[in-house]
Amino acid sequence: MNLLFTTLAIMATTASFAQMKATTNKTTFHRETTVVTVIQADEAIIWALLTNAADYPRWNSTVTSIEGQIALGEKIVLKSTLDAKRSFKLKVKEFQPGKKLVWGDGKGQRTYTLANNSDGTVTFSMSERIGGLMFPMYAKYIPSFDENFDTFAADLKKEAELIQSKAN
């Protein structure tokens, strides 16, 4: 009985550190993709990775470049592997250090949140909501974000946990 309990406990712990697959919800006028992962690293490290624009291409295989400064009200130009030919001109709309970051344009909005867990881990969530009245006209031309989101979250988790593991 004890062995069964221990096994279940280990499985539960392992599951809590695993990354959940990105999910997408669609309506007529909107589409929202979300990914959530639990990271064993200090929120300051994750926040630093998310807000240091020039450093993105080093650790994030989905981002080709980000020009500009990631700070409230600033404009950034993002190039992603989602569409290598396009530059996304975005504005940083919310910037709560260690908690929440939002950037976007007229068509969509990307939200990052961090939440500290009681076991010292951090739950990272990233979602992107795109849409509007014209959305049905161009929806079929926008590729799925799911795989890209999975990669983004996995890269972030890997890099943050690597930095956290460095010796003092």
Partner: protein
Amino acid sequence: MVLSSESLTAEFERCSAALKSYILRITANKQDAEDIVQETWIRAQRSLEQFKADSSVKTWLFAIAQNIARDHLRSLKRWPENVGDICKEAAMGDQEFFREAMTIRQTSPQGAFEIREHIAFCFTCVSRSLPLEQQIALMLKEVYEFSVKEISEIMDSNEAMIKYYLHTGRGKMIEVFDKRCALINKEGVCHQCTELNGIFNPKQNAQEEAVKIQMVRDAAKKDKEHLFDLRMKVMQELDPFTSPAATLQLHHLEFDRKVMEQRPEQELTGS
């Protein structure tokens, strides 16, 4: 614990050489290093009662010094990683530079040219291409061997951020030197240390001298992390103010600083 003026003086004397070399290596400016160390002493004496025994006096002095240096450096431009190429080009067209350097070579007791000293000089210049926090954290950890906790006290930051600065700064420097330094990579574009050895020490075989350095001997192993550690060991073993080539290298450093300060802002972004 109350820190007495006598204890402070004794500790300051013990660590002032390291303090001065550290400030030189983050500012790349001899005059700034001397001024900042002096100002550190004055501020420490004035604020003895603010010393808290939860850190060492050495850590406290480094914190004061780096605060002064950081305020000063924030107003200055960062340098590009190819600073060596830029300054070499400027030096080639500047007869005065070579005339002064040759005079130092012939007259100064610290005018010898040493490849290993140039390795340290080179790192001082190239590390100015890092964001300031990364450069400071890297120097404190890798050269002056402070712990992450001590660096967080010196930089008034948290340990997680220091780990981030160290990870990114170290990664960037490894990449730059792997790409540029011909001592560790046959495809490396920079041969300046061996070229200068030919100019300032023509009787010496540069290749023979180079292989006396552990980093060069181990280059074939291609372990980039290990090679970076050996580069830092070269830094640790040298005091840029008292080494046999100090006067000559400080002359080079001063020349580089002037070249970079005169360079237009838009040309200093390629890091």
